[in-house]
Each structure stands twice: as structure tokens, then as C-alpha cells.
Amino acid sequence: MRGIAVAAPGERTARAGRGMLARVGAAMRLPARACALGALAGLAGLAWPAGDAQAADELNLYSHRQPFLIEPFLQAFTAETGIEVNVVYASKGLAQRLQAEGKNSPADVVLTVDIGRLAIYADKDLLAPVESAVLTEAVPAHLRDPDGRWFALSKRARVIAVSKDRVPAGAITTYEDLADPEWAGLVCSRPGSHVYNRAMMASMIAAHGEEGAEEWATGLVANLARRPQGNDRAQVKAIYEGLCDVALINSYYYGKLSSSDIEAQREWAASMTMIFPNQDDRGTHINISGGGVAKHSKNKETAVAFLEFLTKRDAQELYGAVNFEFPVNLAVEAAPAVRAWGTFKEDALPIVRIAELAPAAQRVIDRTGW
């Protein structure tokens, strides 16, 4: 007897199916151990010594920021100090990796693009407290960890983009306006659970309490022109296309689009006006990119020197030039392109509150379906 049809993975899946059902039974223990041993042997064969690859004049970086954005900083650092910087970039899961590596981790410095992830590293006790006069002087107190485990390195504002042609000047001045029924069917947004919107929501909770923030989000969702989708760049595009008149974006997207090599993108940017909201009360919500020294870094002095480098004039100016971000160091002026946007009042809420309120913010987002 033979099977006619190539039962191929059908047989495999059949086994997987039965396997999963039977797995509930306790029959699992012994084979699991046997398999762990087998896997261990296999891994030992594959292993590649990496932990000891680091020389004293090198620095290892875990980055949530894309390589092409940090490359200019690394080149400047290497030019100044002769220290090579190695990078692993991933958008998710680096904290788990660092945690699992424990004291054998090769990482020296962690860089993130929002406060939420920085705080997660701190909560998991993955960052070393740093005492540095340079850092405490350069970074304002509300933008760094009181225990010195993380420091903001650049700022970006969550601004409101409105259509130049269709929204009269002064019609929108606050985040709260976005929930006004006047804008029904005219608001575009990326999904609420994106870190930037989650941080935005956390700042609303800080300002209005959870109930007030939920009311606001309900109004905002009711005003949406389409299902939340795309990144901030796509929201500007949607304004250009006439799909909506109002959107929430990070300030640097405007800078990037208006100086893009691609003509179409410059046209998108030209179709919108950037509004810094809430100038008459708490100020515009800002988020940070930041960094800290890995707890088990074998190179802590260099790691601190690297963070210090990033808060000094040259690097702070570079943040504006490369990515249209604002410097955290108040002694440094923003890049000319960023300065052209004018000055504005920032929300002075200690940035750590944003991280503390993030889980509550996500719950509001889930409840309102943003």
C-alpha cells in the first residue's frame, strides 16, 4: 500500500496537529529535556565566538534608530576620538536581547527614538547609572532620568499639519481642537498604538486625566477621515491628496519632506502648514530620542564619552542638519532649517511621566479604537 498523492507537509502538519493536542498531557517532560540537550549540542557546533571580539578602542551600540540616520554621528565620533563604533539596529526586541545576554552582553550603549523604550530599559535594570557633569549640564533636568540611567539627546515636537488652502489660519490652535465636531471627517492619523501617538495620548492623560483623555480620543476618532494607517509622511500626503485637512505629525517629517530630493514630496510639504499647538497653555507635546549606558558594558568610560559627545555642540547641530530635530542642549542653536520654523513653547512635563502613563494610554487607545 502506498499513498498516491504526495501527502507532503500534510503528514507533517498532521503530526504537528496531534502533537499540539497531546502536548497538553504530561508526557512532554522527558523528550523536552532530551531535545534541549540535542539542541544544545547543535548550538555548540554552530557557535561563533563574538563576545571577545571587542577591542578597547571600539564601542558597541544597540540602536532603535536606523543606521543611515546615525552614521554621520558615528563618523564624527570616530574622526574625533579614533574609536570605531559597531551597530546592531532593530526596531523591536533589543531590550529582550540585552536582558537575555546578561553580563556577557557586548553592548555598551543603547540608543532609542522615544522615551517609552528608554524607560523599559531602565525598568528592566539594563542601564548603568552615570554621573557626568557634562551630561547633567547639557541635558535639562526634565529630559533625563533622575538616577542618571538615561539622557535625552534630541527633541521632536508632535505638531498639527493642516491644509494650507482649506484650513483658515487660527482655526486650529490646540490638540483639543482635533476632537471638535467641526472637523468631522477631515482628520487623518497613523494608528493610535504607534509609539508617537501613544506618547501623545500619555501627555493628554497627564493634562486632563484618563477620563478627559478618553473623551478627547473618542472625539478624535469620530473625526477621522479614514481608518488610521500609514506613517506621518503618509498623513502629509493625504492632506496633499485632499483626503483630509488635518493630521498629527512629528515636526521633522515636515523638514524632511520639504527638503526631499523627490519633487513630489516637496509638493506634499508645500500643501500644508505646521502648527505648534497649545501655545497659550501647557505648550506643545515633545518626545525625545535618547540613550544610556548598558549595565554590563565593559567599556563604560568610552560609553559615557560617546553620550557626552552626542550632547555637545557639533553633534547637537548635526541632529538638526541630518534629521530636522531640536537640540536638547539649550546652549546650542537649532540648525538653520529648523530655526526657520520659529520658536515655540514646549510642554515642560517631566518626560518620564510619558513613559509611566504609556500602559494607561494604550488602554485608552484600545477602548476608543484609535
Partner: protein
Amino acid sequence: MAAPILSVLAAATEDSGGLWAHLFETVLPRYVANTLALMAGVGGLSLVLGVSTAWVVTRYEFPGRRVFEWMLVLPFAVPAYLIAYVYTDFLDYAGPVQGALRDAFGWQTRRDYWFPEIRSMGGAIVVMGAVLYPYVYMMARTAFKLTPHTLFEIARVHDRGLFRTVGLPLARPAIAAGLALVLMETVSDFGTVDYFALETLTLGIFNVWLGMNSLPAAAQIASLGFLFVIAMLVLELMSRRRRRYVDTGRRMRSLARLRAGPAQTAACLAVCLLPVTVGFLIPVGVLLSFVVKGYALPDYGGVLTVTLNSVVVALAVAALVMAAAALMVVTVAYRPSRPLTVLAGVASSGYAFPGTILAIGVVTFAGAVDRGLDGLISGVMGLSFDGFLTGGIGLVLFACMVRFQAIGYGALTSGMNRLPPNTVSAGRVLGLSLPANLFRVILPLLGTSFLAGGLLVFVDVMKELPMTLLLRPFGFDTLATHLYQFAKDELLEQAAVPALLIVLAGTGPVILMNEALRRLGEGRAGTR
């Protein structure tokens, strides 16, 4: 190899602090409904495309048939997340299609006309179906070819439809197997649903994990998605439980192809051309146009290293997976016992988990092993130990092995099932040990399955993104990770060169694999 999977499941048993009540009340029903809709849609579309094309190329003779036989497999080389980016760019307001429509009809803004939204459930179903159907196509085609012509002749004598009475029912296990792979990939996909902002379980996993800082709850949702796949498979098995697929014929030929008339030729061409165009020609064309327009970054030296990395990793994983699969298949055949079979099943189910979640399983497991070894080496022997698992490329290889084991194991199991079950027993009776049996009996007989499985794994590893991204050592990029840093910011133009290279590197093996499967079908059918 089951360890990382078990460590995800173990994480799921941790307390998630009452999050489930919140999730049930708010988003979970939506996640589940969307996931089911996506599975049904992608599964359905893959079935229709895969089975119809497979039937057409095995049943009819028409101009271009031989070309289509392998062209139909090509979309498999295109990663789903890539095709999602490409189609969004191609079909949205600023893209060439709508631009041309506006010019043609004099429309001014988006509000003047209706155009289907590509970032939607429908859009996701189309783009994922268009690159996943080749699983069904390959399986179904081989099955159709292996169906003995005598059965078709009986059906013909009785004037019954060949497809409905013979072809489809006999190919059912193979089609289900292809469908299972499609569904596993659908459930675990993150790139496409994230880009289209579809609230599926996978997206929920990441919201809970990163938004609420709860890895346990995230692992629980991941396990739920996993259960969906298992449930589907069990249903399919139960529904065919009492039927048997037995072949007693020894000498058979496959059914001679019908020469298609003009109308039939047109129909055949249409059936074959549609998936190839949507799944391969258009995406590759759009990417090529970016390169031609000069938007792509001309850093060819860097791209070369990255390509080399990708190919080496993919080759290594393919070899490792096939070796491990051979060991598993033979062990199970050699000493069939329930725990072993179960374990082999668990070890081959990594495919149904999202890559990042599985990567965290891998890293957690590796960290634990490292700490154990560290205690042993520095504590007992007094030596310093750096931890050789974490941070090395071995981890990337291991993770890919875990994820793609399903494919290797599946390919070899199907090969085994074509061998008379007493082959292994015969070896044992003759006093061969397990390794001797493996090398002298099984492997020579399974050459083609080996090749097909290995190539399938190779292409999948070339496309793999989330695990490599998280687990790679410093300064190590593959084509997929290199592409991702641009694609993430919707900078598709810069991503075009690595994207094309992924597709190109996948195309060769896909064609090779297709040849192997074709020979398998025809060689078997020609046996005297």
C-alpha cells in the same frame, strides 16, 4: 529545537496581570475577527489560484505551458512585506495608476472619484495571496501528475468531470499541506498587516508587548494564533479521517494532456498570466523603474557584502535544516513512539509564530543556556567565560532553523511516505544502525525531496527579516535588514536595489526546485 517554541509557550503561562479582561472587552474580538477574515481570504485566494493553475498546466497543452510551469512559482521569491510596499506605492493617489486615471478623465482631487483603498483587508488578501499561492500550486501540481491515468479513464468512461471526481479528491491531502503553509505564514505575518494597519492578532501581539510592556500577554496572544492554525489542520484531518488514499497500481502513466482549442488556450493563458503578473511581473517592474530612474543609492560595494551575507546564511540554514530534518524523519521512522512523534511535531511548528516572538524565544533560551554554562565553567572550573551564544551569528542560524524546520521536515516526510514503509525495517533487519540506515538507505532514495526542501528553505531564509534583524551580531546586514531600514520609513526608492537582489537570488533556486519537482512528478509517472 523545540526549546524556543516551548519557551514562548512558557512565557504565555506567566501572569499577565488582568490584561486579558481589558483585551477581551476592547480589541481582542476585533483582532480575532480580522485574523480569521485574513486567513479565510488569503487561504481561499491561494486555493483558487494554486489549484486552477496547477490543473491547467497538468491537464492542457497550450502555447507557453512549459514556461508557465516555472513562471508560476516565481512569486514565491517575492517577500510579502515587499509586495505590500510596492503595491501601495503603485496604486495610491500619487502613484502611476491613479495619476494616469486623473489625467485621462480630468479629475482634480481624491474627492472627485472612487478608487479601491490598497491599505485594506482586501488589499492585504490580494498581495499576500499573490505571493503565497505557489505553495498550493507546487503541491497540487505534483499530486495531479502522480494521479494514475487509469482513474481518470474510469471517470471518463462514466462521463464524469475529471477534475471534480478524480483530480481534486485525490490531490486533497497535498493541497491541504500547501494550504497549511500558506495559513501559517498568514498568521505569523507582521510586515504586511503593520503596513496596512490591519488589526490582526499579530499586530495585537506587538501592541500588548511594546505598548503595555507585557511580554506574557503578548506570548498568550501569539499562542492563540498558533491554536487557530492547529485547529484548522485538525478539522481538515478529521473531515478526511475515514477516507484512505491508497494506490495499488505499480505501472502508471499520468494522463495525457489535452490539446487546448483557441478558446481554451485563451482561458488557460488568462488563468496562468494573472497570478504571475500580479505576484511577480508588476512588483519587479516597479522596482526596476526605481533603479532606472536613478533614485536607488549606488553603494554597490556595500550591497555586494550584504548579498554575500544573505546567501551564506541561507545556504547554511538550508543545509542545517535538511540535516536536522533527515535525522528527525529517520528517528521517527526507526523507533516510532508517541513522545518522539509529538516532539518532532512541536519542533516543526515554529513557522506559525511571528518571527520576532520566536526570536525572543530563541534569545531567552540561549541566554539561559549561557548562564548555565557560565556557572559551570567559571564556577566549577574557575575559567572566565564570555558566553558564546549571545551576539554571534550562530544564533541567527539557529533561529532560522527553528522557524523553517517545518518546511524541511515536511518535504522529507512526504518523500518518506512515497517509500514503502518497510524500507527502514529492511535496513534494520539487515543489522544497519541508525546512522548507517540514514546514509545508505534513506538519503539515496530521497534525493529529490532533499533538494526541493533545501531550496524552499533557502528562498525563505533569503526573505526572512524580523529574526535576523534582532539576533544579528554587530555590523552584520543581510539584504532584508539592509532593505528594512529604508522601507520602514517608506523610502522605497532607496530600498529598490536590495529588494531586487532578494527576488533575483530567490529566482534561481525557485526555478531549480521547480525542475526537481517536475522531474519527480514525471519520473514517478514514467516508472515501469
